[in-house]
């Protein structure tokens, strides 16, 4: 499985990276929404799923999802939102932007991997 993970916090990036690579999930990281778009477009083959933070400079997670959803080549790519907030309202906003699902930070590594497997159908 290949995953693009976007977070402006190096700590979270390192944790996500460690968690996923341990499970044999190939992980590419990006620092914010704009960077995420750039990396996404440069990845070949395209990732099987995207994991994104919400609060980020330049382009936040919702903005990022909205942009990806407008790009036909990435149609249907699963995008999970990684967020510290678990409010219903946040889920609605994530859904409105086009998110596939959400993981609440601080994330449980097992749960993160499970969610990625669920949305990608990959083991």
């Amino acid at each position: 499985m290949r995953v693009l993970a976007i977070d402006d916090s190096r700590t979270i990036r390192d944790m996500v990276h460690l968690t996923l690579e341990r499970e044999g999930i190939e992980t590419t990281m990006a620092e914010d929404g704009i960077h995420g778009i750039e990396v996404l477009e440069s990845l070949d083959p395209r990732p099987d799923a995207i994991l994104t933070d919400v609060n980020m400079p330049r382009l936040d997670g919702f903005g990022f999802i909205e942009r990806v959803r407008l790009m036909d080549v990435f149609a249907g790519i699963p995008i999970l939102v990684l967020t510290t907030e678990s409010a219903k309202e946040l889920k609605q906003r994530a859904r409105a932007a086009g998110a596939t699902g959400w993981i609440v930070k601080p994330f449980d590594p097992a749960r993160l991997v499970t969610a990625l497997r669920t949305v990608t159908g990959l083991r």
């Binding site: 499985m1 290949r2 402006d8 916090s9 700590t11 979270i12 390192d14 944790m15 990276h17 460690l18 968690t19 690579e21 341990r22 190939e26 992980t27 590419t28 990281m29 990006a30 620092e31 990396v39 440069s42 070949d44 083959p45 395209r46 099987d48 609060n55 400079p57 959803r69 149609a75 249907g76 790519i77 699963p78 995008i79 999970l80 510290t84 907030e85 678990s86 409010a87 309202e89 859904r95 086009g98 596939t100 699902g101 609440v104 930070k105 601080p106 994330f107 449980d108 590594p109 097992a110 991997v113 499970t114 969610a115 497997r117 669920t118 949305v119 990608t120 159908g121 990959l122 083991r123």
Partner: protein, 745 residues
């Protein structure tokens, strides 16, 4: 370091950066630059600290940053106005957050409270219980330590469902025959699911096929598709699901619960109508009769079997149907981490710096041996050496660039000093910074913090007037302390200036005389009076103020700067202000020096100290009294120090008359704290970059010598410290006798 510890170290590193961003942002707001991006950045900084702190179970840090974040969210959502008072509270809170981070880092107990004024702001927002965005952030629930040690070698135990499912689910072993368990209870026999996707399901990236694969982890599934609503192909929108599924799940585990099944559909729960119930005998019989629809592949690791469901006419899901990762295509894209930066142990870089130093030395030895062997300068070897020299210099520059760091973080640390000093003295101070992107060696940056701190405290305490005094002379009430950095050829100049009253030279002179630092009848030029500030034990304040009297004088600052091979100078204008300027080499490892010979020794004099050179025969020299010889430099006479005598070698003048008089030279040097003087040597050999080698602790501090180097021919040469040389030669900074100018006729 284990994986988690490394990440924790990263976290604290990041905290330092975030705290800087936080403070920089708040200062921008304080300056009245109200900008949404800035407010967002400030909020994000605290938010990120909270996020990381949560992951490491740093409860106190989480708690505080949470309150802080709540207040900042008020700012972000315009419920709180960024008045100067509010910003002041936030700045204090950011200092407090810095303390907490420091305590968390060292694992020490922080006994401080959350500042009351911050709590007051939070309460004012009427938001005490509701964290940013009105979420359900819960300190107890949200920040339970992550129950997993990432350093374990075993893979994660991962179930197909949510967190709850992890413990309850079996692995991915062969699926039991559900029928063997049949008849015990309905739950054992099977579950019947009906799954009716809403139009947005596919667009959200939720793929039914993948959901069913996850179901397969729970047990054997059989599907039936209801495609009754499927429109004709010509009018079909591929992104809108038009089919419904009925699924019979024969669970692998007998105690599989409905919640665990639901958790598979967690992300799709608002995008579908899902029904889960125990399968009846009729259901079982029905599915048994439709065996062609059975999906009975056991779950395979890799590659995922292409949908057996395809035989049952998959939905119109063309855009999302291809699991793309099945093919092992070589990946050329960036992997794992950001390509932009990597973090490297400082130790490794230092080793590289040392090796480059050795490279410089052996390159220069090679060049000399070519000359010694009498090879033509046009020979291949010689031009090859030239190329090598160029390369060596490039490598050296590149390696030094690795260690280079912008002074930004250092400057930002000073803002806190300014705030504290302003508070203590009751003066109103604004700090301006210029040239924050100027880069300098990391070690230099670290070792500048203390001297800069003292210089800034001095500027505020002694330099700036009280608001009343400022008003009296028509200056704005808020004083300005300006911190600037710029690169000047191979040096970096850092200046601290204030727009205060300037140095009161009368008082400085009186104090110096009173302390017997200078003779009562000393006649000093203004800039020489200013330099008295650097004399040990000098203090201009007649009464010890709360900031001074800490045992640190400008002499200590000067010593710290000199230890960095830097120089310090001061300029002041009465009523306009004072500027203290530090000039530092870009690196501590390499020095541009003049190699000189004296008394059969070779020594290196730092080029930065040399203002001019003359041959002795061409220079105009005079005797001043029986012992002191002086030389004319422009329009003034300056003392001459014989290097050999000054260093304690036998005097070349007395004992080596054979030395070629024509080669003898005077190097006019000007250390920061003294007037210029001339150093007499037997000959100037060459101007060269030398690699600085410390003398080692066993030598202690040798007056007049700052370090040593290895020359091209392999010989060791001492590097001269001009100030120290002047001191040993009796031109002590304290006596200043040498500075008394003798005007040229």
């Amino acid at each position: 370091m284990s994986g988690m510890e490394e990440i924790k170290a990263t976290f604290f590193e990041e905290c330092t950066e975030l705290l800087e961003q936080l403070e920089a942002g708040l200062l921008t707001l304080q300056a009245g630059d109200q900008n949404d991006d800035t407010v967002d950045a400030v909020f994000r900084a605290v938010h990120s600290i909270k996020g990381g702190a949560g992951a490491f179970d740093l409860g106190q840090l989480v708690g505080f940053s949470h309150e802080f974040e709540t207040v900042l969210d008020g700012l972000r959502t315009d419920r709180l106005a960024p008045t100067p008072d509010v910003i002041a509270v936030l700045l204090r809170a950011s200092d407090r957050l810095g303390d907490l981070v420091a305590h968390s880092r060292t694992g020490t107990i922080d006994t401080g409270d959350i500042p009351a004024d911050l709590i007051a702001l939070r309460d004012q927002l009427g938001d005490a219980s509701g964290p940013p965005g009105g979420n359900e952030f819960d300190l107890d629930l949200g920040f339970a330590p992550i129950p997993l040690d990432l350093d374990l070698a075993e893979p994660l135990e991962v179930g197909p469902g949510g967190q709850e499912a992890v413990a309850a689910l079996p692995g991915e072993g062969p699926i039991h025959s559900a029928k063997a368990d049949a008849g015990n209870s309905a739950t054992n026999t099977g579950w019947l699911l009906t799954f009716d996707p809403l139009p947005d399901l596919l667009e959200s990236g939720n793929e039914p096929l993948f959901l069913f694969r996850s179901l397969q982890v729970l047990g054997q599934i059989r599907c039936e598709i209801d495609d009754g609503d499927l429109p004709p192909l010509t009018s079909m929108d591929a992104i809108i699901p038009r089919v419904r599924w009925r699924i019979l799940l024969a669970p692998t585990a007998e105690d599989l619960t409905e919640t665990e099944i639901e958790s598979v559909f967690e992300f799709a729960d608002d995008l579908c109508v899902l029904n889960i119930r125990c399968a009846t005998d009729d259901d079982l019989r029905y599915f048994a009769g439709h065996s062609e629809h059975v999906v009975d592949e056991t779950v395979k690791k890799e590659p995922p079997a292409e949908p057996d469901l395809s035989s049952a006419a998959p939905p119109a899901d063309a855009p999302v149907s291809d699991p793309p990762a099945a093919q092992p295509v070589p990946d050329t894209g960036p992997k794992g981490s950001l390509a932009a930066t990597i973090r490297v142990d400082l130790e490794r870089i230092d080793r590289l710096v040392n090796l480059v130093g050795e490279l410089v030395i052996s390159q220069s030895m090679l060049a000399q041996s070519i000359v010694r062997d009498g090879l033509d300068t046009n020979s291949d070897s010689a031009s090859g050496i030239d190329g090598l020299q160029q390369l060596t210099r490039d490598i050296q520059d590149s390696v030094m660039a690795i260690r280079a760091q912008p002074v930004r973080s250092l400057f930002q640390r000073m803002t806190r000093i300014v705030r504290e000093a302003a508070q203590t003295t009751g003066k109103s101070v604004r700090m301006e910074t210029v040239g924050e992107t100027t880069e300098i060696d990391k070690t230099v940056v670290e070792r500048l913090a203390d001297p800069l701190t003292h210089m800034i405290r001095n500027a505020i305490d002694h330099g700036l007037e009280s608001p009343a005094a400022r008003a009296a002379v028509g200056k704005p009430g808020t004083g300005i302390v300006r911190l600037s950095a710029r690169q000047q050829s191979d040096r970096v100049v850092i200046e601290v200036s204030d727009d205060g009253a300037g140095i009161d030279r009368g008082r400085v002179l009186a104090r110096a005389i009173e302390r017997e630092l200078i003779p009562r009848d000393a006649d000093l030029a203004p800039h020489e009076i200013d330099r008295l500030l650097f004399l040990p034990g000098f203090s201009t304040a007649t009464d010890v103020s709360s900031l001074s009297g800490r045992g640190v004088g400008m002499d200590v600052v000067q010593r710290a700067i000199r230890d960095l091979n830097g120089t310090i100078s001061v300029s002041s204008e009465q009523g306009v202000g004072c500027t203290i300027s530090i000039s530092l080499p870009l690196t501590l490892a390499i020095l541009d020096g003049m190699i000189v010979r004296t008394s059969r020794q070779r020594m290196v004099i730092p080029l930065s100290a040399i203002v001019e050179t003359q041959t002795v025969s061409a220079a105009r020299t005079e005797m001043l009294g029986p012992r002191r010889q002086v030389a004319l430099l422009h329009d003034r006479f300056v003392p001459i120090i014989d290097l050999a005598t000054g260093m304690g070698f036998e005097s070349t003048v007395a004992h080596c008359p054979a030395a070629d008089e024509d080669d003898r030279a005077l190097l006019f040097v000007q250390p920061d704290d003294l007037g210029p003087f001339a150093v007499q040597v037997d000959a100037i050999e060459a101007q060269r970059q030398v690699v600085i080698k410390g003398l080692g602790d066993s030598f202690g501090r040798i007056p007049g010598v700052s370090a040593a180097t290895i020359l091209g021919d392999g010989h060791v040469a001492l590097i001269v410290d001009p100030s120290g040389l002047a001191a040993t030669a009796g031109l002590a900074a304290g006596s200043l006798q040498m500075s008394q100018e003798v005007r040229a006729q």
